[in-house]
């Protein structure tokens, strides 16, 4: 296969390694060393996408991260799809498959393109806001089609087959960018012995030196790059990260680096290798040597395929041996871009003309052009590109002195490539990430990094210093300075001399005027990715948008995935001119992480699938799995939810579990409840201050239920605390609240009451806890325990005993969350499964039935026991819960919550209070969250009384039961209220006691 635009010699490609690839269904070939973009250009692929709003044909413009058009969908299989890859940053590999992301129904026949042509004038900025946002619901209908037509990549429909990972790193000096300045900085820092990380987004380090034809110390620039990299690679204090984009600069010198480890090798990563890696680097000092992006010039039809950045043309010629055309017109406002015309001529191609907006300029570059016989049109501008599918000509005209108006007649030069250079914009993105505002510098006609609080130095072109010798020296000095500040003895590395010509002053030119006003001239594009034109920006300023931040949001300038890398400065210049003020007066440009898009894979790393979040298992987990339990996530714990038998529905399983427990005996794995061991001579006093009720007289061997409130008086946790010794307590908390409660205890101990001698630690994982509940609980326990007197009068309700269960040391607590005779057996976690199995061995004859959290909820609701966090929500105090019995008002110390629950709002009439609810139809189970009203026929909005907090079907009672908060509910026993549901149904219910079963507690006191 031929590559029509490939040069026969030169470049950094390996012609002995041809590679096949596919774009838009067609097969092409390229070489090792190509990017996808250089290979496409080599094959003469002009059309890479359709534009966002007008559907116009677009080609490759740039050669790096700033590329706005060649945004492609990559992937040979569904599982390896990657959307929005810049072809300029994707290395070619054999078998690469790429698709355009825009163009619908196809790239060549684009529906939006027709819309754009016919209705283009009807698509002003703000069009989408003005049109599709009304009616409000409309956007949902339109969005799908607009997005499809606008051209965004699509996410894969199959699971990603590759692995991604994260690596935490520390560095003394992190250098961002391995161009001339970055390499020189790395040499200085590395020689000092500092730990250096040098990261560069390209496949090869060297930056612009890779396509430079300058001689450095008499040798080719690429030789100096190779020598420098060889030295750096030989030092074990240096980590070189090519293909690694520093995407975020965060507080306190924390930077994130996105390394593409295998994207250049194949469609998916080789076995055993992560595809991409996110380095999380904490650096002592950072040197930003991020360089600069060339600015294109804005002129009419400047989006035609065949309009490119001048430096990109040089890059394709010199680095990739690709000449994307035959006849070049170079449009420039500076000397540097002349090099592109010389490169083009040296590649054997025709330079039609150098069009220079400066009228009065003469120097080495102009002389060289003359020597080469290249026509130079001084004081001229390319005012319009001609062509329908791609560039076929450039309309040039003479300009006035400041380039603000066309001064003479225009003529058309025949060409197939227009390269333009409006100067350079320093890549200040990273320096802006932590809030430092870039500042305008009139000498370099661009924004440079502003002051920063980070430990950061900048070197080279990012400062607006574009001379190679100066960049090298600056790099060496800043690298040494950063190493010194990081505590190393560093001196600047010596840098080679470069024989380069002095450049004449560049002209401040951003957009080139047309013979027509911008509003009538053919479209002059500022932001190619978001289809923002010069006329649109002028319209925005006319409509009153004066701040550049508002102009950006109104026109969408800079909101593409390229973040306006090419267009923002030009857009600001046009807005400034339109507003009659300077660029710095118009505003600055601020950038946010990330510098270029980062894949979700890299963001997530290994934190996916089963490693997404830690999972906590109890000691009996395997048993639950083997017995068919369905699990529920409670915090990080996996708790058995219910144990369905073959053919059972969930409700049938719950009914069976609940009935078996109250009829004979059930067993619950309660290991996940938080357990905090509290010791010290003031432990009792401390607990009394934390809980709302009395603890002064709780004897050793006794347990007590307690409520915990915040200072506002609202309940946030509850549980049973047992007195293990005079100065030793075991506190239990809700499963999800355990860590928070421990931190709460530490907070008060450390900040308010450090004088109390008390120590606390979590022992949740140390113990396996199994609750046996039901009339046969004592009988079963007696079979496995012979050293505790289980007699009802010696081991009473709310007692605990130390003993041996199934041959294992155990603490047995006679407490109950079901209202049944119940024992919580705690053993060292390692013995948990053994004891659990022994209980089943002996419990079979009693039909010992395992029950999960759902049956636990039903059984406790039958008894009116609350669950903190379900029946409470941070606005409910103990009296609202009818739990005044758990508040000891006359404790000597004003316990946490006491003052809070006495506030005016907490003691007023009409607070929402927790009550029981019985639906009129016993089969109807109220949905949790349903809102109660007194009169369901009242007009909207209805006066709401409160919501249902807990609701279940109770097999033991043969009906539904519920609890809920109702305004003044404790005074409304027997009242009928209504729950209008979202499906139109209205459920009638009666307010009742929360205790549905055994109100006297006979079942547990046996």
């Amino acid at each position: 296969m031929t590559q029509p635009n490939r040069l026969n010699s030169g470049g950094r490609i390996d012609r002995d390694q041809p590679m096949q690839f596919e774009f838009n269904g067609r097969r092409y070939s390229g070489f090792q060393g190509d990017t996808l973009a250089s290979a496409m250009l080599a094959n003469g692929v002009d059309l890479v996408g359709r534009s966002f709003k007008y559907g116009r044909r677009r080609g490759i413009v740039a050669a790096g991260a700033e590329e706005p058009n060649a945004i492609l969908q990559l992937g040979a299989t569904e599982a390896t799809q990657v959307p929005n890859v810049r072809a300029t940053q994707q290395e070619l590999f054999d078998g690469l498959v790429a698709q355009p992301t825009s163009g619908w129904p196809s790239l060549n026949t684009d529906a939006l393109g027709m819309v754009g042509k016919v209705f283009g004038s009807l698509l002003p900025p703000g069009f989408y806001y003005k049109t599709f946002m009304f009616p409000r619901f409309g956007w949902k209908l339109y969005e799908k089609y607009i997005r499809k037509a606008a051209g965004f990549g699509r996410s894969p429909r199959a699971e990603d087959v590759d692995q991604y990972d994260h690596l935490n790193q520390h560095a003394d000096v992190l250098i961002v960018g391995a161009g001339a300045a970055g390499l020189a900085a790395a040499l200085s820092a590395a020689r000092s012995g500092a730990r250096v990380i040098l990261a560069d987004e390209q496949s090869e380090m060297g930056g612009s030196l890779l396509h430079s034809r300058d001689l450095m110390g008499g040798k080719p620039a690429t030789q100096w790059v190779a020598d420098t990299l060889a030295e750096l690679a030989g030092r074990d204090n240096v980590l070189l990260l090519p293909r690694s984009t520093v995407n975020g600069y965060h507080d306190h010198n924390f930077l994130t680096i996105h390394e593409r480890r295998t994207d250049h090798i194949a469609d998916r990563a080789p076995e055993g290798m992560s595809r991409q890696r996110l380095h999380r680097v904490r650096a002592r000092w950072v040197v930003l040597a991020t360089g600069a992006h060339e600015r294109p010039l804005v002129f009419a039809n400047n989006d035609l395929p065949g309009c490119m950045l001048a430096s990109a043309v040089s890059t394709y010629l010199n680095r990739y041996a690709v000449a994307p055309g035959n006849k070049l017109v170079l449009m420039t406002a500076n000397d540097y871009a002349y090099r592109t015309a010389f490169d083009w001529q040296d590649a054997g191609r025709d330079v039609v003309a150098i069009v220079d907006s400066r009228a009065d300029v003469s120097g080495h570059y102009q002389e060289e052009a003359k020597r080469r016989g290249i026509a130079v049109l001084l004081g001229h501008g390319v005012i319009e590109a001609r062509g329908s599918k791609k560039v076929t000509g450039a309309v040039v005209a003479s300009l006035n002195a400041d380039g603000s108006a066309v001064a003479g007649a225009s003529r058309t030069l025949s060409c197939d490539l227009i390269a333009s250079s409006g100067g350079w914009s320093p890549v200040v993105h990273l320096s802006a990430h932590t809030g430092s505002r870039p500042v305008w510098n009139d000498d370099v006609l661009g924004f440079v990094p502003g002051e920063t609080l980070q430990q950061m130095k900048t070197a080279g072109a990012v400062k607006g210093s574009y001379d190679l010798v100066a960049c090298l020296r600056d790099g060496a000095e800043q690298g040494a300075e950063a190493a010194k500040l990081a505590g190393f003895d560093a001196t600047p590395a010596t840098t080679p001399e470069v024989d380069s010509w002095p450049e004449a002053k560049a002209m401040a030119l951003y957009s080139i005027p047309h013979t027509q006003p911008n509003s009538r001239a053919p479209k002059q594009f500022v932001d190619l990715q978001n289809d923002v034109t010069a006329a649109a920006i002028e319209l925005a300023t006319r409509e009153g948008f004066e701040s550049i931040e508002h102009v950006k949001r109104y026109t969408a300038m800079g909101f593409g995935t390229d973040q306006g890398k090419l267009g923002n400065i030009n857009g600001m210049a046009i807005a400034a001119k339109s507003l009659g003020q300077s660029i710095p007066d118009t505003g600055t440009t601020i950038f946010r992480p990330n510098y270029t898009p980062v894949t979700f894979g890299a963001v997530v790393g290994r934190h996916c699938g089963e490693l997404f979040e830690p999972e906590r298992y109890t000691a009996m987990h395997d048993w639950h799995v083997q017995h068919g339990a369905e699990f529920e996530n409670v915090g990080q714990w996996k708790r058995p939810w219910y144990y369905p038998k073959a053919g059972e529905t969930m409700q049938q399983a719950l009914d069976r579990e609940c009935l078996a427990t109250r009829e004979s005996i059930g067993i619950l794995d309660a290991s996940t409840l938080g357990k905090i061991d509290i010791q010290g001579k003031d432990a009792r006093e401390f607990i009394g201050r934390i809980y709302t009720n009395a603890w002064a007289k709780l004897a050793v061997g006794k347990c007590r239920y307690g409520l915990m409130c915040h200072e506002d008086g609202m309940v946030f946790d509850d549980g049973v605390t047992s007195c293990l010794g005079e100065n030793h307590f075991l506190m239990t908390t809700t499963t999800g609240g355990a860590a928070g409660v421990l931190e709460w205890l530490e907070l008060y101990h450390q900040t308010e009451w450090p004088e109390l001698e008390v120590f606390m630690n979590t022992v949740t994982d140390h113990w396996a806890t199994m609750t046996i509940a039901g009339p046969n609980a004592r009988k079963l326990l007696a079979e496995l325990c012979d050293d505790i007197d289980l007699d009802k009068d010696s081991f009473k309700f709310m007692d605990w005993r130390q003993g041996t269960v199934a041959g294992v040391p155990a603490r047995v607590f006679r407490i109950s969350f079901t209202g049944e005779l119940s024992y919580e057996i705690n053993v060292q976690a390692n013995y948990g499964l053994h004891v659990w199995e022994k209980l089943f061995e002996h419990g079979e004859k009693y039909n010992l039935t395992p029950y999960g959290t759902e049956s636990m909820h039903i059984l406790r609701a039958e008894k009116g026991f609350i669950i903190a966090g379900q029946d409470t929500d941070g606005s409910v105090h103990p009296y609202d819960l009818n739990h005044g019995w758990a508040v000891k008002e006359d404790k000597p110390f004003s316990f946490i919550g006491k003052r809070g629950m006495k506030r005016e709002d907490c003691v007023r009439e009409g607070r929402k209070q927790l009550v029981g609810l019985k639906t009129k139809d016993p089969k109807v189970v109220l949905p949790e969250g349903a809102q109660a009203v007194d009169d369901p026929k009242q007009p909207l909005p209805m006066a709401m009384l409160g919501h249902v907090t807990s609701s279940y079907y109770s097999a033991n009672l043969g009906r539904s039961i519920a609890m809920g908060l109702i305004k003044d509910g404790l005074n409304r026993n027997g009242d009928t209220i209504y729950y209008p549901l979202s499906n139109g149904q209205v459920v009638e219910a009666e307010i009742c006691s929360t205790i549905f079963l055994d109100p006297k507690g006979d079942r547990q006191n046996v």
Partner: protein, 95 residues
Amino acid sequence: MFYIHCPYCDEHREEEEFHAKGQAHIARPLDPDACTDEEWGNFLYFRANPRGIHHELWVHAAGCRKFFNITRDTQTYAILETYRLGEQPSVTSQS
């Protein structure tokens, strides 16, 4: 992400190990029952929201579990000092 010096561990650690607990130096009234609703409300809810220097309570939750204080600039996110409970800040908005 912050890089925080724990004054008890005497080491810099990543923010992930810490929890922020709000404004520092808010003492619980010694006799809550003697507080008016307004006084108690001020203690409960009213917090400074300065632009600039702020003293905050943090806890080394995934470390030594100690609470300590941070003087932080809310504009720049610079941490100016960390100090133990019971100590006073050396950097204040007055200094």
